[in-house]
Assembly symmetry: C2
Homo-oligomer: 371 residues x 2
């Protein structure tokens, strides 16, 4: 068992939300936290200075992509991801499992590991649980993830049992391969849509012992209710003393609901990807910036927002940039969406501190319904 790297400051009296912090070798992360995704050693369309300005505490890198290009050995020679991309705050890397299974139709798994083809040149690659840890150690991640298997949705019980068991065996191998202990290692729970398998998966991983625990296999097509139920079914069996990370989730509403159920960490491409598609998050809901009703609109995207984009630019200008396909559109939209997400988490942390998360949640939905 690892020593705990998590400190809980407050627990809501109204729900399972909690305010805490995670200690990593590149600094402390205040939780609940949202982690912007920097797939290819860049959070798309923004600089590291922008991320600091926006208030990003920790970002995520994708092991699969970096393994394929430019390669973890190269990145290691540049001082890891931190040195390569000029980011000195914490980084979490995923294990590559999700991308292998979602990008590669021909991926095959055996007891030994995953065989797949590069999406760039079709070359055959192999990644074992031990490799996944080694690659992430080379990348210099503050928080590494165990290699897991992905369960399709829907999946029957026997398939889910089998896949979850393999994830458990791989987790043990990851734990044993883990050498650089200042780089934290999180286990990933699976269990599909079966509460008792979620419980079993959590117990298996706890028995092995990790620095933190992730909830995998959600936001894969299931209903919101299922997502909430499976989150609850997992969190109920995880130790209070360690951070809980809900992987690949989600919408602003998903973050609020995840925090409500005890989740400490989130990541998702939604704010950055939607920014590049021209969909902007606001306190009163989504804004599709190319809509012609914004053509002459002098107002900012969100009157309540304090981001650089909202302080300086009109909806009309952002619409013009987007329909003109100017790169600046992606930049300004990304700054706004990430600020929206990170500011939402900041407000959530403050609400938990004041033990007013229930009323914050009501206000949040009230504003969304306002327009």
């Amino acid at each position: 068992m690892s020593k705990s790297i998590f400190t809980q400051h407050q627990r809501s009296s109204q729900c399972d939300a909690r305010r805490g912090e995670v200690a990593t070798k590149h600094g402390i992360v205040q939780t609940p936290v949202f982690m912007p995704v920097g797939t290819q050693a860049s959070v798309k369309a923004v600089t590291v200075e922008n991320l600091v300005d926006i208030g990003a505490q920790i970002i995520l890198g994708n092991t699969y992509h970096l393994f394929i290009r430019p390669g973890h050995e190269l990145i290691e020679r540049f001082g890891g991801l931190h040195g390569f991309m000029n980011w000195d705050r914490p980084i979490l890397t995923d294990s590559g499992g999700f991308q292998i299974f979602s990008l590669e139709e021909l991926a095959t798994i055996t007891e030994e590991g995953a065989t797949f083809r590069s999406h760039l040149d079709g070359s055959k690659k192999f990644l074992s649980p031990e490799d996944a840890v080694k690659v992430q150690e080379s990348l210099g991640a503050d928080i590494m993830m165990c290699l897991d298997t992905c369960i399709p949705y829907p999946a029957d019980r026997s398939q889910t049992v089998e896949s979850t068991a393999l994830t458990g065996r791989w987790a043990r191998r990851c734990r044993e391969a883990h050498r650089k202990k200042e780089q934290l290692l999180f286990g990933i729970t699976q269990g599909g849509m079966y509460p008792e398998l979620r419980k079993e998966s959590a117990e298996t991983l706890i028995e092995i012992g990790f620095d933190g625990y992730a909830i995998g296999g959600l936001s894969v097509g299931e209903s919101k209710q299922q997502m909430h139920d499976m989150t609850e079914a997992t969190v109920a069996h995880l130790p209070d003393e360690q951070p809980v990370y809900l992987m690949g989730v989600g919408t602003p509403e998903d973050l609020v609901e995840g925090v409500w159920r005890g989740v400490d960490m989130f990541d998702c491409v939604m704010p950055t990807r939607n920014a590049r598609n021209g969909t902007l998050f606001t306190s009163s809901g989504k804004v599709v910036i190319k809509n012609s009703r914004h053509r002459e609109d002098q107002a900012p995207v969100d009157e309540r927002c304090g981001c650089y984009t909202c302080r300086n630019y009109s909806r009309a200008y952002l619409r013009h940039l987007f329909v003109s396909r100017e790169i600046l559109a992606y930049h300004l939209n990304t700054i706004h969406n990430l600020y929206y997400y990170l500011n939402l988490m900041q407000e959530i942390r403050e609400a938990i501190e004041k033990d007013s998360f229930a009323s914050f949640r009501n206000d949040f939905y009230g504003r969304l319904e306002g327009e």
Copy 2:
């Protein structure tokens, strides 16, 4: 005749280079100056803050593009280009002539003006010399350009005579249509590759009287020697008391040679466009960043460069971003190339002040040949 808006500080004892300043309603521009191009109300891939950091004194907007989208009336309602795009330093707008003739195969010119089709929706448009001034007044340009006709290269003498004469008649109409005198109006000399027509064109425009004079119709396919000869043939007949602008030029070498011959102002898409194509300018020549020899190169693009990109990123990282098609590649490359151009102009201004431009020019070529 307008009052002069140009102050000459120094004239080189070695050549026609001069150090001066141009006064506009948004401030003073130190010359010789390079103006980054912001075609669609955005200098591609950078923010206005980046431009200020890099040292941009004045930027260029393209009347044709803004006339087509989002329209000058809309921009006028947003406080002109300055308010719309959040830039409070001087702006020069071209007249639209060059784009009409270069983007529109079906453009037709009559005595009255230019008829063309929008490159966006094919709709028929008409722009007279009077319209060109009115549109630029709406855009709020500090420096506006007369509508001119473009002469193909090569062109025979009679075609050049006819087109240059029409440019002269249009210039007179622009001058008469010019109402907002705090927005300066420059005339554009033509004359193709015929020195005596260059002289005639300059004399015609001087007789009308403008705030400054541009040299048009160069960098269209002629040799470097022809470009230099036509620049000399024009500058020789322009008044010392007003700024000289060489339009659409050029490479770093072209800037040095233009300044040598008495040019005060330049604009070109080369630094920004090349940045997006992965070609970076350095003190020792061009670097093609995708080249595999940069794969593991820990050095910055240019050891002599003080830009944000060179201070923080390796060639290897920039290569990774470029081959991965990350938007950050275009951003960091553009910052570097614009800094290179603007720093070159800064060094040129200092050299003229010290009356050492000839040795600066020798050193400049010496470094280029160094690799």
